[in-house]
């Protein structure tokens, strides 16, 4: 037995290193979910979107963008437990950076007729315009990531509520700065102006008008003459959804992710077991900001959206926080679930829109009191035990909503104030009914889909990791015992590297 083999720590290290996949293989392994994602995105774009019609296709876009944003926020809030309430600030940074590229870039590239109002999309599917747009998205992400670095640094010194204030202050500062900029230059003037000059003209309080709408729900169709109409917005958005999901999942089950979770649970203890907490936190901020920037870039080019500092203020940050917190901080599928639900509901329930926010707020408070870890906690939807409790709860909620809707829909007292209150109860009941039904349906779909998905996934759920960790620990103990003549390793896994 060589000295290095004798040292149990080294033996354990060697074993762990041996079990670590080589980066190339790992790269391939992580490629297939993205490939699947891209295929799904293509199918959504080419087959599903045309069937949905413009309204629902736009909803699909909104959902996709919300997922990118919420999942990115989950990395810093959910994984690392660094409470950020300025996420819309990163979104704004990314959105404006990307719009700057596509708008002024298109003009510089001579794609815009002189005298035209605004900038149109250019080129066909994956043509030069699309490439410029994709580059702009990445650029937006990078600029936002730099901002994330700037905000992440104070997080090294500040904790909890103070950090929340700093992120909030950051969001507000970005908003005020953007509001100070001047009106967008029209294409003719812009053609002459330098890019630096252009950066000062991003619309100010009125918003960045005239950006090309690369993210549009209209299905892309090639007509007989070979011209394309519409654009592949859904494809792009869901490709980014796939990327952010894969990154988030891989981060969650990686050493980095475990480090982040350790920071979240107990920073001092994490430090004590050798986690570089500073690095972990900054990595979380930068990654989250990068994808928020991409989300912002997608949003900036969406149809019907004018990039506007007012829209991306504190309120938007809070919307994202609600998605993450309600779902369960750390659960990726939970956040996808919440982002989807909270995007669909307000669209479908426009007639009772005024009750939407009070109900969200109440739901947030109740969840915090009753289930402090959020609906799904850190677990993915398909890891939930018992599985069907949530489904049952949503159906019961829906039934209660139905009763309230029907009951209060019929009762009138004759006193105006009381009646409007009763009417409100009825409206809320309807909202809860629809909400409950959609919640149950979406939950069922995600649970089934997730179960399928996790079957093909390398089985590294937190549960599996916990098991792995405990067996590693047992291994180390056994390895130590192993040096004394009395004890023999009994664990099968350990026998192979026993001398």
């Amino acid at each position: 037995m060589s000295p290095s083999e004798k040292d149990p720590t080294r033996r354990l290290a060697a074993r762990v290193a041996g079990s670590r996949p080589n980066p190339f293989v790992a790269g391939l392994k992580s490629a297939w979910p993205i490939v699947t994602g891209v295929i799904v995105a293509l199918v959504l774009q080419a087959a599903i979107a045309p069937m949905l019609g413009p309204f629902y296709a736009k909803l699909l876009l909104d959902i996709g963008i919300a997922i990118v944003l919420a999942v990115s926020l989950n990395i810093v809030n959910g994984f690392a437990g660094q409470f950020s309430i300025g996420h819309a600030g990163f979104m704004m940074v990314g959105g404006y950076a990307a719009a700057l590229i596509t708008y002024y870039g298109s003009i510089k590239l001579g794609w815009v007729e002189p005298g035209a109002y605004g900038v149109e999309v250019h080129g066909g599917f994956l043509g030069s315009g699309d490439l410029l747009f994709l580059a702009a998205c990445v650029f937006g992400g990078v600029v936002a990531a730099l901002a994330g670095l700037v905000v992440g640094l104070p997080s090294l010194r500040l904790r909890g509520d103070y950090l929340a204030i700093v992120t909030l202050g950051f969001g507000e500062i970005v908003r005020v700065l953007v509001q100070q900029t001047s009106d967008v230059l029209d294409p003719t003037t812009a053609a002459e102006a330098s890019m630096l000059e252009a950066a000062k003209h991003i619309g100010g309080p009125l918003g960045f008008t005239g950006t090309p709408t690369y993210v549009s729900p209209t299905p892309w169709i090639t007509d007989a003459a070979g011209n394309q109409t519409g654009h592949a917005g859904i494809f792009f958005v869901f490709t980014f959804v796939a990327i952010v999901l894969v990154v988030a999942f891989r981060l969650k089950i990686s050493t980095h992710g475990r480090a982040l979770l350790a920071v979240r649970e107990n920073e001092v203890a994490a430090e004590a077991v050798g986690v570089n907490t500073s690095r972990a936190k900054v990595v979380a901020f930068v990654t989250a900001a990068f994808f928020a920037g991409i989300g912002g870039a997608l949003y900036a080019h969406e149809v019907g959206v004018t990039l506007n500092p007012k829209e991306l203020g504190f309120q938007k940050s809070i919307d994202l926080v609600i998605m993450v917190v309600l779902a369960g901080m750390g659960s990726i599928s939970g956040v996808v679930y919440a982002a989807t639900m909270l995007t669909i509901l307000p669209e479908l329930l426009r007639d009772s829109a005024e009750y939407r926010m009070p109900i969200y707020a109440l739901a947030l408070i109740v969840v915090m009191i009753v289930r402090p870890q959020g609906l799904f906690g850190i677990q993915e939807i398909w890891e939930l035990r018992p599985r069907l409790r949530f489904l049952k709860a949503s159906l019961i909620g829906a039934a209660a909503g139905l009763v309230s809707w029907q009951l209060f829909g019929r009762v009138r007292i004759g006193v105006h104030a009381v009646d409007s209150f009763i009417a409100a109860l009825s409206a809320i009941g309807k909202l809860v009914l629809l909400g409950g039904l959609i919640a149950a349906a979406l939950f069922a779909v995600m649970m089934l889909g997730g179960a399928l998905f996790s079957r093909f996934q390398s089985r590294k759920t937190p549960r599996a990791i916990a098991r792995e960790l405990s067996s590693e620990r047992a291994g180390a103990v056994l390895a130590k015992a192993d040096d004394s003549p009395k004890a023999r390793p009994s664990d099968d896994a350990d026998r192979e590297d026993a001398p």
Binding site: P154, I165, V166, I173, V176, Q315, M357, P358, L364, M368
Partner: protein
């Protein structure tokens, strides 16, 4: 010189409003160690409740008698105190032992709730409203070319009065001692026979009543009331909150000093640098203070926390 003095006078007026609101953040932080994000909404409710009361008395149309303003002030303070106590009881008390992050998120939930219930049509509605002038809006005096308005004088005088009252309460009374004791150590405080929950409730009541005063003064000073969920309110609350943090949250005198500082920076920045960036100065100060002295400018130096 005149501009300078005028800006100074304006800053003191604005600083008073911030101070009244900042105190609520600081008092609650003192006893519960969390940032009550819903506090700015209590301020909003204070302003809107004042409007509703003044309108209900019919003073919008007829002009107001001399007792109108004190009466509305007292009623608004009572309404908000009740609201603050209800919030504490329903939302925060069940979380007494929960992690702070949860309490923080709950506070955000309460804030959203108040804003959005406020704009329901059977509460305050979504329309901006003009506040009935409960005070004559005239210039009281002109000193060295500086306009001193009645409203500013009344606001500053009442604010100083309320602050002195609070100071007296905290440092000279049995209740104040109990508040400071709870702030230092809840368990030992309960061993003195202090009903900790009752002290926390009272603290919420006091903080909320002060915010109501701030809300009324704000409404009187800037007569157009934006709808309850308007970003203006959020921003106002945020600035008051920044004042509390800059002054060292948990520190009563620090909150007042922080409020004046923030108001000065905002007003002088707006006057001499650029009027559009006033929000920016405030948040830059916040971040600078947190980076270099996270416990706030007066965190330790002036007085102990409450």
């Amino acid at each position: 010189m005149t501009t300078f003095l005028q800006t100074l006078v304006n800053s003191i007026g604005l600083g008073s409003l911030y101070a009244l609101t900042a105190l609520g953040y600081t008092l609650v932080y003192g006893v519960l160690r969390f940032i009550n994000f819903a506090h700015s909404d209590v301020f909003t409710v204070g302003a809107w409740a004042s409007f509703t009361l003044a309108s209900a008395f019919g003073w919008a149309a007829t002009g107001s008698p001399w007792f109108a303003m004190p009466l509305v002030l007292l009623l608004a303070m009572a309404v908000c105190a009740a609201l603050g106590i209800a919030i504490e009881f329903l939302a925060y008390r069940p979380l007494r032992k929960a992690p702070r992050l949860n309490v923080l998120i709950t506070a955000i939930g309460v804030s959203l709730f108040l804003q959005n219930v406020g704009q329901l049509k059977w509460v305050f509605g979504t329309q901006p409203q003009p506040m009935p002038p409960l005070l004559e809006d005239s210039s009281l005096a002109e000193v060295a070319g500086v306009q001193i308005r009645v409203i500013d004088v009344v606001v500053v005088v009442l604010t100083v009065f309320l602050l002195m009252l609070l100071e007296f309460l905290i440092y000279r009374t049995r209740l104040g001692r109990a508040m400071r004791a709870v702030s230092f150590d809840e368990k030992v405080a309960s061993l003195m026979g202090i009903n900790v929950n009752r002290i926390i409730t009272l603290t919420f009541g006091i903080g909320s009543a002060l915010a109501a005063a701030g809300g009324l003064f704000y409404a009187l000073k800037y007569t157009g009331l934006k709808q309850p969920a308007d970003a203006t309110w959020v921003l106002l609350g945020l600035k008051a909150f920044v004042a509390a943090v800059v002054g060292g949250i948990g520190n009563v005198r620090g909150a007042v000093a922080g409020a004046l500082l923030i108001a000065f920076v905002e007003m002088f920045g707006a006057q001499y640098l650029s009027p559009h960036m006033r929000d920016l100065y405030v948040f830059v100060i916040l971040i600078a203070v947190l980076m270099f002295k996270p416990s706030g400018l007066f965190g330790k130096a002036v007085v102990e926390k409450v």
